[in-house]
């Protein structure tokens, strides 16, 4: 870093000038949340938006919220009933005809208040464009919801919006072109990394940055799914990017507990968005490998003559190396010597473990289906109407008290006990598989940090003046805190 500063003092100066308005302007927040329909709007999405509203409120940042169908009182959120809410009268039926959780599924209208509008793509694009054009503040934009993949090109990934509409990353760039003031974003959906292409003048190629001051963070790369769409209402289980990011900004976790360490890395008295991001990378034991727009820039910059070479084993001492050190210490991995090799071997073992669990889980599910079918046949022999849904006979049967009787009969079936045991084991295996995936992601994250540490140094060694200035411009934008 110091070498770079000696070589490119003007690049740093240019970046500082460009980013100065980001640092001084007050921020307004735009929070967008929800899935593409009722079934895809899990309660975690709603709770994340509420968590963001509360966190921003504590920082005196006003928020405008767009959520699912706007202020329509129709049901738009699904969740799983807690043990207190749940009465298990139909549990047996849901175990035989659906999944063990099906009986707990509930629907309701959002509890968010002051929702400014719906997230239908056309409405949202128009509202966003107006808001960005007319504001005299810099904007902080957060999206919580689902994403769509594009294996052809990162700038073609999208967000799934209400009423089965969508907005692609390059369309997003078109919308934010109307911004007259700086814009910083956080996208947390699957494949969100593709939205980092919006910082470029041409989202599909090249390193020239957009004329608008735009930068941000994403919970994932353009090619991976993200964590965080649970229907479980227990927030202590949430390990998504939003959870860690806002905890870092406020200094408190979702349970209201103070964080175990100070997230203000440079001790300047304010937690910048980049510091919050780096904290999220360090602290999250999830399946996410989060990206800053500057990380995406580094990867896009990586020239062809370096891309295929083995990386140097001695890490340069920059912020990525520091995050690597923290992660490696946390997971008992070596810091030097054959660190990368050791981590890669551990990753191979972790992947094998995950594959074995996946296979086991699949076999268990097959067995579960066979048992379900066996009980279904027995039930339908006794109550034939059950095999003909959408008929009068079926309607009459389920509107009578017979469902309770059927459910009781099912729970007495001699295969039912085995089914319950299998489903319990299946849930447990599913959790084990998720934990195995989370552990493998921690190892991948360490390798990713090492890669970024090397790439950053290489940019300073091989990059042109403009390339380095572009990177510094993004860093300046990311490093500014939110201003009330």
């Amino acid at each position: 870093m110091s070498n770079f500063k000696l070589r490119y003092p003007f690049a740093l100066g240019a970046a500082l000038c460009f980013a100065s308005s980001t640092i001084t302007l007050a921020d307004q927040a735009v929070l967008i949340g929800g899935g593409y329909d009722l079934h895809s709007t899990q309660v975690q999405i709603e709770k994340n938006v509420q968590w963001a509203i509360d966190s921003l409120d504590s920082l005196n940042i006003p928020a405008t919220v767009y959520f699912t169908d706007g202020e329509d009182p129709a049901e738009d959120v699904n969740y799983l009933a807690t043990d207190e809410e749940y009465s298990s009268s139909f549990e047996a039926m849901s175990r035989v005809y659906g999944d063990p959780m099906a009986d707990r599924r509930r629907f309701r209208n959002t509890s968010l208040t002051n929702v400014a509008g719906s997230t239908k793509a056309d409405d949202l694009k128009q509202s966003l464009a107006e808001l960005l054009r007319e504001t005299d503040q810099s904007t902080f934009l957060l999206f919580n919801g689902h994403g769509t993949a594009s294996h052809e090109a990162p700038h073609q990934v999208g967000i799934s919006l209400w009423d089965d509409t969508s907005l692609k990353a390059d369309e997003f760039q078109g919308v934010v072109k109307s911004a007259t003031k700086p814009l910083r974003y956080v996208f947390t959906q699957c494949y969100s990394g593709g939205f980092n292409s919006a910082v470029f003048a041409n989202p599909s190629k090249g390193l020239k940055l957009s004329d608008q001051q735009i930068c941000g963070f994403t919970s994932e790369s353009p090619y991976r799914t993200a964590e965080g769409c649970s229907a479980n209402v227990d927030t202590s289980d949430y390990r998504d990017y939003t959870t860690y990011f806002f905890a870092a900004l406020t200094g408190y976790d979702r349970e209201g507990e103070i964080l175990p360490r100070d997230t203000d890395r440079d001790k300047d008295g304010a937690v910048s968005l980049r510091e919050a991001h780096l904290y999220s990378v360090e602290a999250a034991v999830s399946t996410d490998i989060a990206y800053a727009s500057s990380d995406f820039y580094l990867e896009r910059w990586e020239p062809w003559y370096l891309k295929w070479l083995p990386a140097r084993r001695e890490l340069p001492n920059n912020e990525f190396a520091k995050v690597f050190r923290t992660l490696a210490s946390k997971h008992n991995m070596p810091l030097a010597g054959n660190a990368a090799k050791t981590i890669r071997n551990a990753l191979a073992d972790a992947n094998t473990n995950w594959s074995n669990l996946h296979k086991l889980h699949y076999e268990l599910q097959e067995e579960e289906l066979t048992l379900q079918r066996e009980i279904q046949i027995a039930v339908e022999e006794k109550w034939p109407a059950l095999s003909q849904p959408y008929t009068d006979a079926f309607k009459t049967l389920i509107s009578s008290d017979s469902v309770k009787e059927i459910s009781d009969w099912v729970s007495q079936h001699n295969a039912y006990g085995k089914l319950v045991a299998l489903q319990t084991k299946s849930t447990s295996l599913s959790n084990d598989r998720l934990e195995a995936e989370r552990y493998a992601t921690q190892l991948q994250k360490m390798l990713h940090m090492r890669k970024l540490a090397n790439l950053k140094q290489q940019l300073y060694q091989y990059g042109s003046f403009d390339e380095v200035a572009g990177y510094e411009r993004l860093l300046m934008c990311e490093e500014a805190p939110l201003n009330p």
Partner: protein, 156 residues
Amino acid sequence: MPGWDSCALWNGYPMKRLIPFILFSLLVGVVIAASAWPLFVLIGGVLSQWFGEGSMLDAINNVPKEKVMADFWFGYQQSMPFAIGLGILAALDYFLLSQNKFTWVIAGLSLPLACIGILFVFYKDPAPLLPTFVLTGVGMFILYRFSDLIRRLVSR
């Protein structure tokens, strides 16, 4: 009346056989030029695997195959000037050194040397990359010698 090609000699070599030899030298050059980038990538990949670190490993694990292939082709195109240079060097080296039993010993060694030269001229931190470039050069040297062996076997 004897033709010029039956009595003229080049480097102790009858002119009649010179044109096929020139053509074969050019073929060696083409083989080296065409294989320079794939060899570079292969050696880079093997060493990345060995040391456990390299962008390529992450790309193979985390990026769609189409994108990896597109990057490979892009590298192939961009490296063409270097590959063509190495191809010309290989053709000249083969033409000048491979026919004499004394110079044959060192024939082809210019390729690893040229690779090391490229490394030290164009890279700012060459030392850690030396094994990749040396081994790429050695790979090209083996290809060069293998081509020579084929020609000798065929011409017997």
